[in-house]
């Protein structure tokens, strides 16, 4: 009887414990609402935002005159009606630096610890002085994100300096710790920005020497962990790219670079005809590099695509890869193209992008608008048209029309389009037309180019390795020779 009682008690205890465990498990499994990024409204691209900067007039004049300086000036910044006091503003950019229409960076936390605007510590106001359409950058980044590649969110904004309209700008999400956290769920790794000076000799990832200081802080400028930039890791990687033979390269580079992801990055830039990107006309340029925490693995993050599209829809799909002497070809790209499977992947990726670019059934924008209403009553969202099944235009063409309609008035009244700058409204119209042409023709051109190289191939076949290229474009030996030429 007593034994039976113990059995009952024991069984009861087990049941209760199991029930409690289950209850706890149920609690932890309860789906929580997806976290809404408080910064979403800043990059809601369905309307033209409004940024008003209050700044000492002497400071604004100084910023315009000394636009090559990175001096910060104090200002109050009112974005869509929300004022952030004691912010900091400075001129920024490389080729786009301008004293007429300065490219700007606004830091909310420089003067006040942890001060943010809707969770953002900073944002960039891109001046688009190299793009009369104002749409190259925003369209490129939109397509990067649409294809699942990390890129900043962007939206158009009218900028007012001391209540005087200064022009149409693009507000760009900074690539910073906040960006890293959102994309990778971590931010304590090493973030570098490729830091190119106008008078620098173009860099093609050639091996300088085994010393990390030859690569960091220039051209790879640390943006996080500045006191411990771990430059040796970069030197090691560059050495592998330049010196390891084909038989071991894929193995030795794997801890540093996810080659398929890298291929996707350069394919995207090539598809968009970006002549100032990783394989650009001026050496490598315009990217961030994130090295993950406790790993040597690097991830490319796109930056500054204002030079995309400008060479038209027939921008070669191997531009600066097979139409330049080896010493002027990026060593990493050359190595990658030397492997048939990776080259096939490159071509397949280009086809994927071509299809997505002209997809007539795609939604106009992937951005989740409407999570928060715009604060400024003046900024009314433009209704997003639903795709018309009878509309033959592809995603890109429709996106261009949407953005064109959105910014036309702001461009026409932009003072830099009316005398002070190097553009006129006619330039805007002309470049918008060029963009439309690109949107219409690029996909077909890329498909045709791929077909020329692989007339009988298909994505699935090549992925199975049924077809391979006869020989690497640039074997390791030619790379070494190119490095020697470059060093001379």
């Amino acid at each position: 009887m007593r034994r039976g009682l113990w059995r009952v008690l024991l069984t009861g205890a087990v049941v209760v414990a199991a029930g409690m465990t289950a209850a706890v498990r149920v609690d932890t499994q309860t789906p929580t609402a997806p976290q809404v990024d408080p910064a979403n409204p800043v990059f809601d691209d369905s309307y033209v935002h409004e940024v008003r900067v209050a700044i000492n007039p002497k400071d604004w004049t100084a910023l315009e005159v000394h636009y090559l300086d990175n001096t910060y000036y104090t200002c109050d910044v009112k974005t869509d009606g929300v004022n952030v006091r004691n912010s900091a503003i400075r001129s920024r950019g490389t080729g786009s630096r301008s004293g007429v229409k300065p490219g700007l960076r606004i830091d909310f936390d420089r003067n006040v610890t942890n001060q943010t605007y809707l969770g953002l510590k900073s944002y960039v106001l891109r001046n688009q002085t190299q793009d009369a359409s104002n749409m190259h950058e925003i369209l490129s980044m939109l397509f990067f994100r649409r294809m699942g590649l990390p890129a900043s969110r962007e939206a158009f904004t009218k900028l007012y300096i001391n209540n005087v309209y200064a022009g149409l700008y693009t507000v760009v999400e900074s690539v910073d710790k906040g960006f890293l956290e959102k994309h990778y769920g971590e931010n304590d790794g090493h973030l570098y920005k490729y830091d190119y000076n106008a008078d620098d000799k173009p860099y093609y990832y050639e091996f300088r020497d085994g010393n990390g200081d030859s690569y960091v802080p220039h051209p790879f400028k640390p943006e996080t962990n500045e006191s411990d930039p771990q430059s040796q890791t970069i030197a090691d990687m560059i050495r592998i790219i330049n010196q390891d033979g084909d038989n071991i390269f894929r193995t030795t580079i794997a801890p540093y670079i996810d080659l398929p992801k890298f291929v996707r990055h350069i394919a995207m830039e090539m598809f968009l005809g970006d002549n100032d990107g990783f394989d650009g006309n001026y050496g490598t340029n315009n990217f961030y590099w994130y090295r993950f925490e406790k790993k040597t693995l690097f991830q490319w993050i796109a930056w500054d695509k204002s030079n995309a599209f400008i060479d038209g829809p027939t921008y070669p799909i191997f531009h600066n890869i097979n139409d330049q002497p080896p010493e002027r070809v990026n060593r990493l790209t050359a190595r990658v193209m030397g492997f048939a499977d990776l080259k096939n992947l490159y071509l397949d990726t280009l086809l994927d992008f071509a299809n997505a670019f002209v997809d007539a059934t795609a939604t106009p924008t992937p951005f989740p608008v409407g999570t928060l209403k715009p604060v400024s009553p003046a900024a009314t969202p433009t209704p997003i048209p639903t795709p018309n099944p009878d509309d033959p235009r592809g995603w890109a063409e429709r996106e261009i029309e949407r953005q064109y309609a959105l910014i036309k008035d702001a461009v026409y009244t932009d003072p830099t389009f009316n005398g002070t700058g190097n553009f006129k409204p006619a330039d805007f119209e002309k470049e918008a037309d060029n963009l439309r042409k690109f949107a219409r023709e690029r996909g077909a051109f890329v498909k045709a180019e791929v077909a020329k190289i692989r007339p009988t191939s298909s994505s699935s076949r090549t992925r199975r390795g049924a077809r391979a290229f006869p020989a690497p474009a640039f074997p390791a030996s030619s790379l070494a020779a190119a490095s020697r030429v470059a060093a001379r």
Binding site: A54, I55, N56, P57, K58, D59, T61, A62, V65, H66, T71, Y72, Y73, T74, C75, D76, R85, N86, A88, R110, N111, V112, T113, N225, E226, S227, D228, P229
Partner: protein
């Protein structure tokens, strides 16, 4: 390499000292003990040989009051001699002493300091100066001193000025240090014209080779003006119980300038120091000296960059307070006390600076004054028993039977910046109505080893605490506290 250099310098000093001890013209120059008009002790032919003092040879960097020891009326013949310095003389008509000061450092600080601050290097040829000092006729003294290396000044300034000539005061920083003429016709009212130190700050006015620590106090380095071009009247009164100096200068000193900071303009400054108990027989009281100084400068906002003072850490030079926009006038005040007794010494100094900020708000409104304050307390003891002097004279030189003089030193100080009043939330903005207070508390512990009259080794351990953690230069440091170490080899000639 550096060890070799250190040993080489020590060896050189030892051999030079030994050689000079045997030189016939190496007799003591007891200028300070001479009555005016009496013949120079350097001219052995004109007076009987004196009894040799315990340590008769003055250090090259020892202060000698030439106004009390006018040149002897010697024939106008050329002579070359080496007493305190290598020297050439033409009777009493002309004298030129060749001087040299070398200070080389080995540094270490927090991890990553050299990566974050490109100017911070482990080995640093810190200060290498050569100069000539002497007199024309009886009452015209002169000095010309130049820095050979650029550590002490921003050598790129001229280049930056060429690019950006709108930075006023760009020409102020120079490799030339003291370049002046001092007229001593009236001993109590001497007129000095040229480039020299603005009379402000006990620590700043102490010569670089006489410092008890490797680095001057933060207030002396960053609030006191230091050198500028101007003219001053100075002298001693009441049998040296009172010293004064008052002058007018073109700007407000090199400490307030940089390649990016224009600094103040026309400056008036004056300093008085008194020894009220000079004749007291109470032990330890007679050497008590009190000083005070004030300076006023005009401040413009012509430069497009902020023109206020900045705060930098002791050794790594990290900026813990960036300059703010200022305009109007800059007022400086300073008070100090200096005490020496036997082998002990102590010093303390308080400095206050206030800058007007007229029309410096975002809408060109006036802002409350910006303010900088500093103080320090320091003390030294010579453990080998020598009397505390600057420089210390060892009882026995190394390599000549002695060990030199060893001194322990400690200093605690604070430099901090804020604004006077303001109702806004304090921030770091350079046009903030209310400036967020930012400061650095520093404890310096040191050992000074005066090897002989030419060579001194100094070791300092420096603990800094940055008060505004938002400006803490040390990565991933949540306390703002970090240590630095420096070993300095000093060689004077």
């Amino acid at each position: 390499m550096l060890i070799e250099a250190v040993l080489g310098a020590v060896w050189l000093s030892a051999t030079t000292g030994a050689t000079m001890a045997g030189r016939p013209d190496a007799a003591p120059q007891q200028a300070t003990q001479q009555a005016p008009g009496k013949p120079s002790t350097g001219d052995k032919a004109q007076k009987p040989k004196k009894k040799k003092a315990k340590n008769p040879k003055p250090s090259p960097d020892e202060e000698v009051d030439e106004t009390d020891a006018p040149p002897a009326e010697a024939p106008r013949t050329f002579r070359a001699e080496w007493k305190q310095h290598p020297s050439i003389r033409i009777g009493s008509f002309f004298r030129a002493d060749f001087q040299a000061q070398f200070q080389e450092d080995i540094h270490a600080s927090y991890a990553g300091a050299s990566t974050l601050n490109k100017d911070f290097k482990t080995f640093d040829l810190h200060r290498n100066r050569v100069g000539i000092k002497g007199n024309f006729f009886k009452h015209v003294q002169y000095e010309v001193k130049r820095e050979l290396t650029e550590k002490e000044v921003d050598a790129t300034t001229q280049e930056k000025c060429a690019i950006d000539p709108t930075v006023k005061g760009c020409q102020i920083q120079s490799l030339w240090k003291d370049v002046y003429v001092n007229l001593t016709y009236l001993k109590r009212a001497q007129l000095q014209v040229g480039k020299f130190k603005v009379p402000f700050g006990l620590d700043q006015l102490t010569g670089v080779t006489h410092l008890d620590f490797v680095y001057r106090s933060l207030g002396a380095k960053q609030l006191a003006p230091a050198r500028d071009i101007g003219a001053q009247l100075h002298g001693q009164l009441f049998k040296k119980s009172l010293e004064y100096a008052a002058g007018v200068f073109r700007h407000d000193g090199e400490n307030a300038h940089s390649s990016k900071i224009a600094g103040g303009d026309l400056t008036g400054a004056g300093r008085v120091s008194v020894q009220p108990f000079r004749k007291s027989t109470v032990a330890g009281i007679s050497a008590l000296q009190f000083g005070a100084a004030a300076a006023i400068s005009k401040l413009s906002d012509d430069s497009y960059r902020p023109n206020g003072l900045q705060g930098k850490t002791v050794m790594t030079g990290d900026t813990f307070y960036h300059p703010v926009f200022v305009k109007g006038r800059r007022h400086r005040w300073e008070g100090d006390v200096d005490w020496t007794a036997g082998r002990y010494s102590a010093r303390s100094e308080l400095t206050l600076v206030r800058d007007d900020r007229l029309q410096q708000g975002l809408i060109e409104d006036d802002l409350p004054d910006s303010r900088a304050r500093s103080w320090y307390v320091s003390g030294t003891v010579v453990v080998t028993g020598e009397a505390k002097t600057r420089p210390i004279k060892p009882n026995g030189d190394l390599f000549q039977g002695g060990i030199g003089a060893i001194e322990l030193a400690a200093r605690y100080e604070r430099l901090w910046f804020d604004s006077v009043g303001g109702t806004d939330v304090p921030t770091r903005a350079n046009r903030a109505e209310t400036i967020l207070e930012s400061g650095d508390k520093v404890l310096t512990l040191g050992v000074n080893w005066t090897v002989n009259r030419f060579v001194k080794l100094q070791f300092n351990g420096i603990r800094e605490q940055i008060e505004d953690l938002g400006r803490n230069p040390v990565p991933k440091n949540t306390t703002g506290v970090f240590w630095s170490r420096v070993l300095r080899l000093q060689f004077v000639l």
